[in-house]
Subunit: 390 residues, 2 copies
């Protein structure tokens, strides 16, 4: 069959706040081929990604993403891998493409799974979808007492692991220590704790001041102490302190993920299938990391659809963690008719149902839909409205 | 003073061909502050970069580029450097921003130079603008005879260095060798020859087959044998063969340029100020490369405005090359009222006139202008038309 159409739906909350919460908007992708349909989600800046879908060609290595997708053959997994290579070749000079294509790649796998009535992880030649331990991913409170309250609440909800990040952490050494103590106290001794610095620190020198409290809090990992490209700072900090480091969420290509593992030597590689270019490169990254002794973890802060997509690349890994968005905004929470939740044992798995195993809630999509129109040189290159949902 | 306005002008040829010629369109940027004006140019995919300028905020680390620029203070070079840091912080999840901001950064330096009546390189604390040897940058012919004809013509025009790239080169070993022989024969023994592979090869193993002809042609450098992130392939090829390698044009951050120098160990670092985020990060990259023993060269394939911008970061380097776009399309060629051309000695320099030293030709801009309108949620976020030129 051929790819008949790709449609983008820009969804957002009525008000988007200037906070570190990536679940306030979404770019949903629907792909149709033959009589089948698949859905995916792209990370961040929906308008920019829509523009890169239709942007007129600049030259042979800078074509609109649509040029590499619409009308192409889609009969099996190898076709999706071929599309990944093609769009990369055609987009050398189009920085936005990996975010745009991520949702498309995810939707293509979903479509193929629905058609074959198999979960995506089976199409990826995996023998089983092993359960993961979800960690409740959330922001630090503004004050240590709020961090404590959130930690206690997380424990009450039955989570056995929790990550706190951003907000007040990482600026003042003593205040940061109080937040870590509060998190550890609220979680109790037996719940795993991760900490996300959000790339705040300027080099290993600055990081060292925060290290004693990090060690005292017995963290499973310290996440993104530095920007992702600062390989040598990562390597220096982990080798000097023994603290397991995590990073990689910003990777927007397989090559970046490979270099991060190779040169930064992290204990955990965190990949978002909505950023790196989809399930295809994320799966290669998961295999590569495993071979190098780095543990793969999904990065997800939005919908169940994005979560299922980010779980597929390492569905076959045992004894792994899963980032679980604890409190996404309604636009993300209500995107699917059912939600991916922990099972009675508190564990979470890539679904066994066909494709990504989730249905998009069209009523919810309609509720949050933002209409977009792009005109260039007197021609309408893109228009989305409610009629596209029928 | 404060930054009053930033305007984008999408220019393009009436027909854009599917060829490796990046001069077929342009995204021109005009910044106004106080009573002053500056101009810059962004690389590639104008519509996508315009969208990232106005794209509604997704979260605190994904804001429109405009949010970091309009209304900000601009009194000296340190303000431009601060804007670079701010836009980076605000754009973690906006892949397109470095291309968008490149033109803005360039225009800010141009504006400041015009205001102070000094060339940009003086604002960068450089003592002198040293002449560079331009190499005529062009595509291989379709057949070796055409490559020979282009090489002879380049020699006749007085160039003492020439680069050939893309097209038929790098696929078939014997045909590629014939093109190299033709280029060398057409140039004669005393003209420097560079070769651009355009990231075509899959690893050092494939490259080795092409090596004997590259060595026989006595190239100054072999450019982009592999994609820019494949650091270990670069290192392996140069260490194994002694051929000086060049690369880096795709760098869209200072961190990428630093990692490329650090891990790929190239002989030449090629940076495009229209891609890396402007003159500011390009200047840091030039200093870093020099300190590491890699020679800095501009990457430019478009207008004189882009050429002047890409010359500033290493204006103070002696005995350097300069990529000189030999035959840009009219939209790029006619963008400025005067053109940056080699002096009677055949050398080229960053101008001594204020700012970038070039005036934009507004009639030409009007001739190639493409009108753009972007509507989101019933609001017009961007509209460009001819009236903006007045």
């Amino acid at each position: 069959m051929r790819i008949d159409s790709v449609d983008f739906f820009y969804l957002r909350m009525p008000v988007v706040l200037d906070i570190g919460d990536g679940s306030q908007d979404a770019l949903l992708v629907r792909v149709r081929a033959g009589n089948h349909e698949g859905w995916g989600e792209c990370e961040a800046s929906p308008l920019t990604s829509i523009a890169s879908w239709v942007a007129p060609m600049s030259h042979s290595a800078c074509k609109p993403v649509s040029a590499s997708v619409v009308g192409r053959e889609l009969d099996g997994p190898e076709d999706i891998r071929r599309l990944n290579r093609l769009v990369q070749e055609n987009s050398f000079d189009l920085l936005q493409w990996p975010h745009t294509f991520s949702g498309i790649d995810v939707a293509l796998w979903d479509l193929l799974g629905r058609k074959r009535e198999e979960p995506v992880w089976k199409l990826l030649d995996m023998a089983a979808s092993h359960p993961k331990r979800p960690y409740a991913s959330q922001l630090f409170g503004d004050r240590p007492e709020e961090t404590y309250a959130r930690a206690s609440e997380t424990r009450k909800q039955g989570f056995t692991a929790a990550k706190f990040g951003w907000g007040p952490y990482g600026r003042d050494i003593e205040e940061s220590a109080r937040h870590l103590e509060a998190a550890r106290a609220g979680l109790g001794d037996d719940v795993d704790l991760m900490v996300d610095v959000g790339t705040l620190w300027k080099g290993c020198g600055q990081a060292m001041g925060f290290v004693p409290a990090v060690q005292a809090a017995r963290v499973v990992w310290l996440e993104e102490p530095f920007p992702g490209e600062e390989y040598e700072e990562y390597r220096a900090l982990s080798h000097r302190t023994g603290i397991p480091l995590a990073g990689g969420e910003g990777c927007d290509s397989l090559a970046q993920a490979v270099n991060f593992v190779r040169f930064a030597d992290p204990a955990f590689l965190q990949i978002d299938a909505g950023r790196i270019g989809g399930i295809t490169p994320a799966t290669f990254a998961a295999s590569y990391a495993a071979g190098q002794g780095a543990r793969f973890v999904n990065h997800t802060f939005t919908s169940s659809l994005a979560l299922s997509a980010s779980l597929q690349p390492y569905a076959n890994h045992r004894d792994s963690y899963c980032e679980y968005p604890l409190d996404p905004k309604p636009v993300a929470r209500d995107l699917t008719a059912s939600r991916l939740v922990p099972d009675p044992d508190g564990l979470i798995r890539a679904p066994d149902a066909p494709g990504l195993g989730l249905d998009v809630d069209l009523e919810s999509v309609e509720r949050y839909l933002v209409e977009v129109e792009i005109n260039v040189g007197g021609r309408t290159l893109f228009r989305s409205d409610r009629s596209m949902l029928r």
